[in-house]
Structure formats: C-alpha cells, structure tokens
Subunit: 109 residues, 2 copies
DNA sequence: ATTTAATAGTTACGTTTAGTAACCACTTTA
DNA sequence: TAAAGTGGTTACTAAACGTAACTATTAAAT
C-alpha cells in the first residue's frame, strides 16, 4: 500500500532531470557559458520555458546567471560545480544513445 | 534561427528519460522482473500512467512483458538488454545525488 | 455460497505543464 | 529612422499528468 523504498535524494535527482528541457539545457552549458539566445538556438526551446527553467535551475544551484558589460549588458548562464558534476551522467546517456538508439527520426507521416 | 547542433540519438535518449516516471520505472526494474502492482508500490505511480508508460517502453524496446502461469496468470515486466544498458546512467545519477542533493525534503509548509 | 481482496488494467474528468505566438524595453546596426 | 538582436513577459491553446472510480478475473475468507 505505502511506498517504503527509494532514496529521496535519488528521487529528487530524477525529478530534476525528468523535468522537460533540463537535461538539454545542462548539456548545452557543459560546453561553457552561454547567452540566453544561444541556448534557445542550440536546443530549440521557447523563450518562455527557457526563462522558467533557468530560474528553477538557478534556485537549485545548478546554473548561475552573471551580468557582464555595462552598455550592451551581456547576460551569461553557466553551470555551477554542482551542475558540472552532472557531466558523467550525460556522458553515459550519450554513449547509451550511440549504442542503442537507431537514428530513424520518426517514420515520417 | 534554425537549430544545427545536437545529435538526434542523444535527443531521443533525453526525451525518453525526461518523460515523467520512466527513469524510476527502469530503475525499479534493474533489480529484476516485477509485477505491475510491485512497480506501483515501489515508485508511487498511478495505474493509469504505469500502464501507459509500460506500453511505450515496450514499443521502445526497453521493457518486455511476459505472461506466465495458466490459472492465476502472472504478468511480469522486465528490462531488455537495451533497458539494462541504462544501468550506468542511473548509477552515475545516483552517485551525483548522494554527493550533491541534500536530503531536505521540501521545507514543510 | 457470498463477500472480500488482489492483480492488471481502463475510463472519465479536472488540473498542471508545455508549446505557440505576440509583444515589450533596450541597444545596436544599416 | 527603421530594422534587427537580446532578454525576457503575457495571453492563450494543447498536451501531459493526477485522482478517482470502475471492470474482469482469480483466490481466499466467512
């Protein structure tokens, strides 16, 4: 009847990566800091959701937002140490994908 | 304007694990085959969603459904080789969680 | 013999979340 | 001065999720 198993930390980690776009956002930031529009272009997320996700990831301590330059005001998003530490997870997922996912991109209706 | 980056296989893998419950379902099946109600009890998913997810995971070739026994008809869900291969991904996530997620379970309203 | 419980789901419905599109303020470039 | 880029927000629609109730089958309990 009631759930007894599962580590709550693991569950939290799963819910983080299960939130749509989070894995791709983190993945794209693993290459180094990016600007808002760079992320939208590389992963294809909308402004609305990226804005939302980045705020959430900031409060989770995974992404940090920095403002640089005075006149054109450049805003950069980068991974914290905690965020960087997700690298091996995404690397394993990447190697799983190359081994097991065939590249057929939805059979074309 | 248009997206040029990102491996489509990786994107598919991400969308698989980003689908809510999928990671936990796979995680619970890594311990060995389970029955329908065992999964609902260990991870806390509803019947409706588990049924839906299991069908999807079956068509993705990650889970296999087997019927055993004649009179009480036991239905078992287990991971395929492709599903098993996700073990290192979840292991890395688990070790990330133990290192970086603090066990505060939502500050209690 | 009939009720109760367990298994493996399905159906209906309401709420949340995600996606699309338009817009805004500011700055720079043409 | 108009157009384009950046970093978003607002409003609206569509899809996903959660809850609860229900079904069919079998088995155990009363």
């Amino acid at each position: 009847m009631n759930r007894t198993e599962l580590c709550p930390r693991f569950e939290q980690a799963v819910s983080l990566l299960s939130r749509r776009w989070n894995a791709l956002i983190i993945y794209s930031l693993l290459d180094g800091p990016s600007r808002f529009c760079e992320v939208t272009e590389t992963i294809g997320i909308s402004n609305r959701l990226l804005s939302e996700r980045l705020k959430e990831l900031e409060t989770d301590g995974i992404v940090s937002r920095t403002v640089s330059g005075d006149s054109p005001v450049r805003i950069q998003y980068s991974l914290t140490e905690k965020g960087m530490a997700l690298l091996p997870v995404l690397q394993e997922l990447e190697s799983w994908a190359t081994k097991w996912v065939d590249p057929a991109p939805e059979p074309a209706e």
